[in-house]
């Protein structure tokens, strides 16, 4: 037994060793790689991960997610480039996820009514969840294949044995969704975008699905194919697409869901009419709820801002998207320093930085293993340069930021910058400068960079240094040729150089003529813009501007009509706009919009009246549609860009003289265009970054001269200023921006100081109605702004009406461009007649002094102050009327009214200005349907309310010029002004009913009646041979008489009552009696008579 015992001991040891060895080796066993029996093209979600409370916040019961859609790519050309383009993103939404039997539903995570368990009257028992959209799919368990005995394999497969609710995974089909992704960008966008294109199919972008459970982040990208909706709204350059046969296009949308950890951000509520709303524009997040106590819908506005208390050593980092141009990166260091300095002044610890990689520190070089975040991931902020020009239609920048809708804390933001073909503008610039005196290349056979120049010189029109150089050259040439008085030559040359660029075209010459200004003016704007009589005008003007902010009521969020909210009529409006554009294009092509009937017949008159009524409808629609588009873009913080402005920008930016070693030569073409482009991009970049910081637009920046620093053209980067201003102006935040940021991110003391500032502010909702709160304005006072707008119109003729540099020329934008030039400047007239006229300035200033605690002056003192206001606005209105006159009177030899085509090829060589003349006529002659402010709407004709005695005479001259029909135009158009005048002057909407008599003609069926009326002596005098004008005096009034033998009519017009008719008849008589023209007809007289009589008991003839 002892042996047994020993053996047992030995066996036991062996067993133990064996077991130990087994255990050891057992731990070393590997698992065979998984064999995937799943559909690789499908995405399997773990349901519990998406419906469980947020694990990033300890003890959280919050099951919600934050959700965002971003447009990350599009094909090029982009068929929806006007509305959906790379970078465009939706708001951040708070959502919850719910799995239904056959779908993953994205639910609105917010409830209009809170579910208060303590309140029996406030539960949501009968309230269903609101589904935003859903993805189709199937519930499965994803597990290793298992035998019925419970043995598993390494083969992964779907399993559907359990009830669908108990299955742990959802095989989601992201491509099969109930919503158009574009609709998530903005709720109307789905409809808006689909006017342009119809979605055909969608696919999940391979490898785009990302799920990071530890970070609670899920993302994927859907690629949607659209078909251009040829029958619908044309959203982009059709010719461009046609050439490319681009009937389809693709847009990729990145969807992102994520959760956040703890935040110490403190939400701030802004009251609907908080004082700060009138002072500074910061984005706000609206939270709508049902107030249980009152039963009314309530609202809480939260300030949309970054956490000002974010630790200084943990800056908000914006990441350069891959491909961001190196040349534009340094400017972000500049922007960083500027921004962080403002934050420091505000007392905030919030800081910003710009980097390439996640694994890169501040100011560190880009690491070799640079890890970049995925564009569209809402946890990260980006700076993106969109290279493809044709994915948008003219965007320069776009600066969205997203915030937690429950708190307003900004989580991330993106500065999108678009390459809208900036490089090609150098060619435009050269072309433009060659035509406009700015580019006076000193030596034709020498490159600019090889040409010596003087320090500080530019080639800007009128540049003193350049003019001095030219004058010196003229003097030298004079001396070399043995001329005399070469100093005088020099002086004259210099004067001409300085004068030549501005305000001396034929258009301005005509304006000067009709305005009775001196001919051959010195090119100074002083001729048109009056100098203030008082030093305090600018300050008073500054005070008044704050009272001229009028919001557009349909955009108010709290009071509105539910039966016609904005966008509701979008499609109908677009159709009407299409009619307008087509009609105008026909006119441009030389077609008669009134048909073939004689204009003096009833049918002819009614055709003209019908067209006039259509014009009114079209104009109203065009304006509202434009407002709607502006609003869409403004809500998305999009910076639109008129490419014509770039030409101005660079022309005014002007080539500079730069130092090279010890000498100076001009900038080369590349240096010049690179500098301008960099400057434009910088200003766009800081503008968009301003949006990223929560700054809204401030269109008052350009009129706030009081707060502009030297070299600035606006007190705010959040203004839309023309690119010429941007390129040449100083870099950095304006005073408005600094104070606005201090208010947004500062503490109580800083905020109190900010509220004491008198910086001007107005924004998108004011832009439509407010006369001086406008985008792309240049100038501070109305007269300055008007003059610059007219000058810009004049400058752009060669590029607007000629094909110029364009290989392809889309002329469809012409109507809109001229429309803006003609009608937008009328807002100064509105300002004059509705606000500043009748003592409006005095009243406003007095009220401001009364409520502001200032010294209240006497009425005569206010009258004295108001003089400068009246002078300025009067000059502005006078310029506007003269401008219309000048456009009408432009001779065909200068700017042809008729569009010129190449007869063989059919391409347009030069667009005629018939539309310009038509719009000028309508603007001046017709009743304007003016919606001046929320409280003022009226029909007014400009000729009827010219504002002030000085303009009264001018308006009469313009009126007579237009009614006189003595200008180059189509035959059908010649008397259209008369038709409009006859129509409008016979309504009860004009101020003086006697005005209609300006075209009155007395018609007598036989001579006896005529003689009974005026007596034999007068008629005999009128018909004397030595009285070819056939004028006569009766009862101390001057008359004119004529006889139409084909109708046996005797016509009489009184000079004082009917000056237009008087002139028509007199000129007809002169021609008739001179016998100069054997074919002289009386067509004009019949028209005049018909138009008058149509509205005054016309019986036909």
């Amino acid at each position: 037994m002892a042996v047994m015992g020993e053996m047992a001991t030995m066996n036991g040891k062996r067993i133990l060793i064996a077991v130990a060895a087994s255990a050891l080796l057992s731990a070393c066993v590997d698992h065979r790689p998984i064999r995937n029996g799943l559909d690789d093209e499908a995405v399997y979600l773990t349901k519990s991960s998406l419906t469980a409370p947020n694990p990033l916040v300890e003890g959280s019961t919050d099951e919600g997610w934050l959700f965002k859609v971003t447009t990350v790519k599009s094909s090029s050309p982009n068929v929806m480039g006007d509305v959906v383009f790379p970078g465009l993103e939706g708001e951040l939404k708070y959502v919850k996820l719910r799995f239904q039997e056959s779908g993953l539903q994205i639910l609105d995570g917010r409830s209009i009514q809170r579910d208060d368990p303590e309140d029996p009257n406030d539960d949501l028992a009968t309230q269903a969840e609101r589904v935003l959209f859903e993805f189709a799919g199937k519930h499965v368990d994803i597990k290793l294949r298992e035998s019925l005995d419970g043995e598993r394999t390494n083969y992964l497969e779907e399993n559907t044995e359990k009830p669908w609710r108990d299955r742990q995974n959802f095989k989601v089909d992201f491509e099969n969704t109930s919503m158009e992704p574009a609709s998530q960008l903005l709720w109307v966008y789905g409809l808006y975008a689909n006017l342009c294109a119809v979605p055909l199919s969608s696919n999940l972008v391979p490898d785009s699905f990302e799920w990071d459970e530890s970070a609670q982040s899920l993302g994927f990208t859907i690629d949607v194919t659209y078909q251009l909706n040829w029958l619908g709204w044309v959203c982009t350059d059709l010719l461009h697409l046609y050439e490319r046969d681009a009937q389809t296009g693709n847009v990729q949308y990145h969807f992102a869901l994520f959760r956040r950890g703890e935040s110490d951000f403190v939400p701030q509520i802004i009251d609907e009419k908080d004082l700060v709303n009138k002072k500074y524009g910061a984005f706000q997040v609206a939270n709508t709820f049902r107030d249980h106590d009152t039963g009314l819908v309530g609202n809480v506005n939260l300030l949309h801002r970054w956490n000002p208390n974010r630790p200084e050593n943990d800056p908000v980092v914006f990441y350069f998207h891959e491909g961001f141009p190196e040349a534009f990166k340094p400017m972000w260091t500049e922007i960083r320093e500027l921004t962080n300095a403002v934050m420091a002044e505000a007392g905030a610890t919030l800081r910003f930085d710009f980097r390439d990689c996640l694994n890169q520190g501040k100011d560190e070089a880009i690491p070799d293993d640079c890890q970049r975040p995925t564009f569209g991931d809402p946890r990260y902020s980006f700076v993106v340069w969109h290279h493809s020009i044709d994915t948008t239609t003219g965007l320069l920048g776009y600066g969205p930021s997203i915030s937690d809708p429950r708190t307003g804390e900004i989580i991330s933001a993106t500065t999108n910058l678009y390459n809208v073909g900036l490089d090609r503008y150098r060619f435009y610039i050269q072309d433009y400068l060659e035509q406009h005196g700015g580019l006076l290349k000193p030596e034709a056979d020498k490159a600019w960079e090889e040409t010596v120049c003087t320090e500080g010189a530019t080639v800007a029109p009128g540049d003193p240094v350049r003019c001095a150089l030219i004058a010196e050259g003229a003097k030298n040439e004079c001396e070399a040729s043995g001329g005399e008085s070469c100093d005088a030559v020099r002086s004259q040359t210099e004067t001409e150089c300085k004068q030549s660029p501005r305000l001396n075209t034929q258009l301005f010459a005509e304006m000067r003529r009709v305005m009775d200004l001196e001919d051959g003016a010195d090119g100074s704007a002083d001729d048109f813009v009056p100098q203030p009589l008082r030093d305090g005008f600018r300050d008073d003007y500054h005070k008044v501007l704050g009272e001229l902010r009028y919001s557009y009521p349909p955009w108010n969020r709290f009071v509105y009509r539910t039966d016609q909210v904005p966008f509701q009529m979008l499609q109908e409006m677009q159709q009407k706009e299409g009619e307008f554009q087509n009609a105008m294009q026909d006119v441009m092509a030389g077609k008669n919009p009134f048909g073939a009937q004689a204009l003096y017949t009833r049918e002819g008159i009614e055709a003209q009246l019908g067209f006039t009524q259509n014009m009114r409808d079209w104009r109203k629609n065009h304006a509202e549609l434009q407002h709607l588009k502006d609003f869409l873009f403004s809500t998305k913080s999009i910076y639109t860009f008129d490419p014509n402005d770039a030409i101005n920008a660079i022309a005014m930016g002007a080539r500079r003289c730069v130092q090279r070693g010890s000498g100076f030569t001009w900038e080369s073409d590349k240096e010049y265009s690179d500098r301008i482009i960099e400057a434009v991009v910088f200003h766009v970049a800081i503008h968009e970054f301003g949006h990223n910081l929560s700054l809204r637009h401030n269109f008052y920046g350009s009129v706030d001269g009081k707060h502009m620093r030297e070299g600035e053209v606006s007190a705010s980067i959040m203004d839309y200023v023309t690119a010429w201003e941007e390129a040449g102006s100083s870099r950095g935040y304006g005073q408005y921006d600094e104070w606005a940021l201090k208010w947004i991110y500062g503490g109580d003391d800083v905020r109190a100081e900010a509220m004491q500032q008198d910086i001007l502010y107005c924004t998108d909702e004011h832009r439509i109605l407010s006369p001086l709160c406008r985008a792309h304005d240049l100038g501070i006072t109305p007269a300055q702004i008007t003059l610059n707008a007219i000058e810009q119109y004049d400058w752009l003729y060669n590029l607007r009406n000629r094909r110029a540099y364009r290989k392809f020329w889309d002329t469809s934008s012409y109507v809109g461009s001229v429309y803006g030039a003609m009608f937008d400047i009328q807002r100064m007239w509105h300002l004059g007649i509705f606000d500043w006229g009748g003592g409006g300035v005095q009243e406003t200033l007095k009220r401001l002094d009364q409520v502001g605690g200032g010294t209240v002056l006497t009425d005569p003192e206010y009258d004295e102050i108001a003089v400068d206001f009246y002078n300025d606005i009067s000059a502005s209105i006078g310029m506007t009327m003269a401008f219309y006159d000048a456009v009408i009177n432009q001779p065909a030899s200068f700017r042809n009214y008729q569009t010129e085509y190449d007869p063989f090829y059919g391409d347009i060589l030069r667009l005629g200005i018939i539309i310009d003349k038509l719009f000028s006529t309508v603007a001046y002659m017709d009743l304007q349907d003016i919606y001046y402010s929320p409280n003022v709407a009226a029909y007014v004709s400009m000729w009827d309310a010219p504002f002030g005695s000085q303009n009264l005479a001018l308006s009469q001259r313009v009126l007579d010029n237009m009614l006189g029909a003595n200008y180059d135009t189509f035959a059908w158009f010649k008397y259209y002004a008369l038709a409009i005048f006859a129509s409008t002057s016979n309504t009860n909407l004009v101020g003086s009913i006697e005005t209609k008599e300006r075209i009155a003609i007395e018609r007598y069926e036989n001579e006896m009646e005529l003689r009974e009326a005026y007596g034999d002596a007068a008629i005999d005098y009128a018909t004397r041979v030595d009285n070819p004008q056939q004028t006569f005096v009766y009862d101390s009034e001057l008359y004119v008489y004529t006889y139409l033998p084909d109708r046996n009519w005797h016509l009489v017009a009184r000079a004082s009552r009917s000056p237009v008719s008087y002139q028509y008849l007199r000129e007809y008589n002169e021609s008739l009696n001179a016998g100069a023209d054997p074919d002289l007809d009386n067509y004009g007289l019949k028209i005049l008579l018909a138009y008058y009589e149509y509205f005054n008991n016309f019986v036909g003839f």
Partner: protein, 295 residues
Amino acid sequence: MKRPAIALGLGLCLAGTAYAQGPDAEPETDAQAGLDLPVKTTLSSQFRMLAVVDEDPANDQLLLYGLRVRGEVFKGGTVFLGAGLRQLFVAEPDESGVDLQDTQVGFAWKTPVSFGADAKLSLTQEASVFLPTSRTSRVQDLYLAPQVRLGFAFEPVAGLTVAGGPRFRYRFHEFAERAGRSGGMNTQLDTGLSAGIDYAILDSKTYGRVGVGVGAGTNYVRKYDSRESYESDASDQGVWYQQYDWEAHVGYGYSVFDLGVSVEQGGNVLRDGVVNTFFVHRDETQLAFTLSASL
């Protein structure tokens, strides 16, 4: 006393995983030694078929060839080597119908125990290791499979032997999972207990040896742990299977030769999640014909 040992050995084959068990056999006794040589060699061949022949009998037939060499290193202690070859009558295209069985190398120590006058009892301890020479083991990436076996043989009266004992085998695989889409998990631990009774009807040098016997056994097989705990934290733990078998045999031996016929039935206790055992089954119960020679 000699007795036909082949039948019992074959019977126990079914207790394990058959394809890995070919050379594995019951602890041998001196009685098996045919010749008095320092190194003993046993050659065997066995033809197996279903007891009930179906329409396609070739699928259910195979031949097993065995070689077992052992040598005594001290009194009662032997080292041994077992190898085998399996020949199928039907093979997949491009596949050989013949393949090696796992090779077993081990040491056995037999100790007789005095147990009364006529009764005999001997205990055997065996430690061996299976080497992955079979195609199946290679496919499943078996490293090796050490085995410990304890056995007893009790002969209460002459000619009647009761034998049995437990065994433990651990299988070291490279991967926990078997190769193949539906392979399942590899076996990690295989432990079993078997017992049998033999009776020598005739034991004559002139006429040879005739014996009959029955045997039965069961074993528990543990599979490796799965890689995932999908339903619960415990759901990745390896499963245990129970297997059973029985056999009855009759053998005849003469000189160094032995001839045996057995009927055998065995399989998993749990089939498709349901306990399902059969005493006989037309698709499972097999006949085995064995011829061996011990030199």
